[in-house]
Subunit: 346 residues, 2 copies
C-alpha cells in the first residue's frame, strides 16, 4: 500500500443497521475501487464473522476491538464520561492521534459532536462547529448548514458558517466559486431578525472571499437557487426534516393513489422504471454524509438509519473532504480573514 | 336576507389575479349556496364589467368603490400612511366599524397585518398576533402557527400561540380537544433553545386547557402526529416554504420522469385520474386561508397567487371562524387563564 493512501477511521457499531450496514458499505467501496485504508472500531466477535464472508473487506480493513457502544439515547456528556472504550470514541481518537485522516460514524449525533469537540478541538477562529450536508434541490444539490449543532446562533456564527459552507461546496461538489445565501422569511433587505440582518450586512461588506447572494426563502432553498444556504441549527434542522417528511408524504400518497384502481396499477407498472429513477434521484442515501465543520479533523456523520449504500456515500464524502483539503482551506480562509470574522460567541 | 346572515368584507383588488379571481371565487361560493353577504371593496370601473357577466355575484354583493390599491412591494408603514383610501384599508375598516364580521384579502401580508393591528387592535392579554393556517400532512391536516408575523418570539408568545392555535383547530377543523405540540429539533425533553424549553415547561404545567403533547420535529409535523404545531414566525415561515418547495420539486421531477419514455407516458395516461386526485389532496388552494389570530376581529389572508378556488377557500375559512366564534373563544380562554399567560413581550 503506498504511503499516500488515505486512512479512514470507521465506527463499525454506530447506526440502526450496524455493524452489517457498515461492513457492507466498506465492501462496496473496495469493490468499486476506492483507494483507502480502513481502521474499523467495534466488537471483534460480531465483526469477524461478517468479514469472514467478505474476503475483500477482510483484506482491506484493520480491525480494532472495542467493548462499548454509545447508545442512541445516551446524553453527550454521559457518553463522553462513560464510554471511554466505545467504538465511537476510539474512532475519533484515531484522527486525533494522526492514525487516520477522517472518522465516519452513524451513531449518536450529540455524542459524536461532543467527543469531536473535546478530542479534536474547534479550529482557532471558529466559535462553534456546524453540521453541513448536501440536499437534493431542483436546479442543483445544495449545501445547507447548520443542521442542528447550534440551536441559537449570532451573526458571527452565521458568517463563519458561510465561509465553511463555501469550502465544503468546493471540496464535495467541486464548485470553484459557490454562491452563498442566508435562509430568511423574505428576500427583501429588511426581512428577518437582527441576527440575519447583521450577518447579511457583514457578508455584503465582503469580509469573506465568497459570492454572497443575499437571502433565500424555503422555496428558494428547494429550488436550488444558490450552492450554499446558511442558517442557525434550529431552523436548519427543522427545514431538513420538513423536506424529508414532505417527500415521504407525497411518495406515500402517490403509492396509495396508484393502488386505488386497476388502470392506475397498470399505469404504474408501465411507469415503473421512471419511478425507480425518480426514487434514485431523491434517495436520501445518495445525499448521506453530514460533515462537522470547524473542527481540527474531518468528522462525517452518517444518518443513523442509513443502509450499506448510504453508509458508503458518507465514507465517500469523508474521502472527498480529505482529498479536497477542506480543513486546510478553512484554516487558510480563517487566517486571511481572521480579524473581521472573529467576534463574541452568542 | 335574514338579520343573522354573516357579512364578509372582501378586498377585491389584492392578489396576483385580482379582481377576476376574487369575483369568480365569490361567484363559486354563492353558486354552492353559501349564506353570506359580501361587501366588496375595489375599483368600480374594473369590477362592474366582471359582475355584469355574473348575475349571481352581482345580486349577492354590495360594491364599495375605492381608488387605491396597496402594492405588493409597499412597506407596511408606508401602506398605513399613504393608502388611506385603499381597498385593503376600507375592507378592514368595515370590520372595525361593525359592518362586517370578517375581512378577507389576498394582498400584501405585512400591510394587512399592520392595518389589522392599528384598526382592530390586539386582543387584551395577547402580546402579539400570529398567522395560522392548515397544512396537509400524512395522518391529518395540521394547524401551524406562527407562519411569519413574528420573526422573534419569547416563551409567552409561544404559550399564547398554543392557546390560539387550539381555538383555531376547533373552529376550522371541528376538533373538540386538539392535541398541541411545539416544533423542535428533537423530541427529548432537553432539546432546543431556552425559549421552547420555557414554553414547554409552562404548557406542561397545564396553564391552558389544551392537550399538550410536548415536542415534534419537522418529520412529525409532516406526518401529522398532532393537530396543532406551534413555533416562532421565522421557523414557521421557513417550514411552510420548504414543504411547498419540496412538493413542487418532487411533482416536477415525477413529471420529467414520466415524459422520459413512451412506456412511462402510456402509464401516466392510465394513472391520470389517480394523479389528478393526488394533486387535489395536496392542492395548496384546498388549504388556502391563513388567519391572523389575536386581533379584535377576524382577518383572513389568502395566498397572493391563489386562483378563484383558492380565494373561495379562504372566504370559507373566514366564515368558519365567524360561525365557530373563534375570537370569542380566544377571549374567553384568555380571561380564564389571564394571569399565567400574560408576560413581558420579547
Amino acid at each position: 500500500m503506498p504511503a499516500s493512501t488515505v486512512t479512514l477511521s470507521i465506527d463499525a457499531m454506530g447506526g440502526d443497521y450496524a455493524p452489517e450496514s457498515v461492513i457492507d458499505g466498506v465492501d462496496r467501496l473496495l469493490k468499486a475501487g476506492m483507494k483507502a485504508r480502513f481502521l474499523l472500531f467495534g466488537d471483534r466477535a460480531r465483526l469477524m464473522p461478517l468479514l469472514a464472508s467478505r474476503p475483500r473487506a477482510e483484506a482491506g480493513v484493520e480491525l480494532r476491538h472495542t467493548d462499548d457502544v454509545v447508545s442512541d439515547a445516551a446524553k453527550p456528556s454521559a457518553a463522553l464520561r462513560q464510554a471511554r472504550g466505545s467504538s465511537m470514541r476510539l474512532a475519533v481518537e484515531a484522527v486525533r492521534d494522526g492514525e487516520a485522516s477522517a472518522v465516519v460514524s452513524a451513531g449518536n449525533t450529540g455524542a459524536l459532536m461532543a467527543m469531536a469537540k473535546v478530542l479534536l478541538r474547534t479550529l482557532p477562529g471558529i466559535d462553534r462547529p456546524a453540521i453541513a450536508s448536501v440536499m437534493p434541490a431542483a436546479q442543483r444539490p445544495v449545501v445547507m448548514l447548520d443542521l442542528g449543532a447550534n440551536a441559537e446562533c449570532d451573526a458571527t456564527n452565521l458568517v463563519q458558517f458561510a465561509m465553511m459552507g463555501a469550502v465544503f461546496a468546493r471540496a464535495v461538489l467541486g464548485i470553484e466559486e459557490p454562491t452563498v445565501a442566508l435562509l430568511n422569511i423574505g428576500t427583501e433587505a429588511p426581512k428577518g431578525d437582527d441576527v440575519v440582518q447583521e450577518a447579511a450586512a457583514r457578508l455584503r461588506a465582503g469580509e469573506l472571499p465568497i459570492r454572497f447572494e443575499g437571502f433565500v426563502e424555503g422555496t428558494g432553498l428547494m429550488a436550488g437557487s444558490v450552492d450554499v444556504v446558511v442558517t442557525d441549527g434550529f431552523t436548519g434542522n427543522v427545514a431538513l426534516k420538513v423536506a424529508e417528511g414532505t417527500a415521504r408524504l407525497i411518495v406515500d400518497r402517490f403509492k396509495d393513489m396508484l393502488n386505488d384502481s386497476l388502470a392506475a396499477r397498470a399505469g404504474f407498472l408501465l411507469a415503473k422504471r421512471s419511478l425507480g429513477r425518480l426514487k434514485g434521484k431523491l434517495d436520501p442515501d445518495r445525499y448521506n454524509g453530514a460533515m462537522f465543520l470547524g473542527l481540527g479533523g474531518v468528522v462525517v456523520k452518517s444518518h443513523g438509519g442509513a443502509n450499506a449504500a448510504g453508509f458508503a456515500n458518507a465514507v465517500k464524502v469523508a474521502l472527498d473532504l480529505v482529498d479536497g483539503h477542506a480543513n486546510e482551506r478553512i484554516e487558510h480562509d480563517l487566517k486571511r480573514f481572521a480579524t473581521p470574522v472573529e467576534g463574541a460567541a452568542c
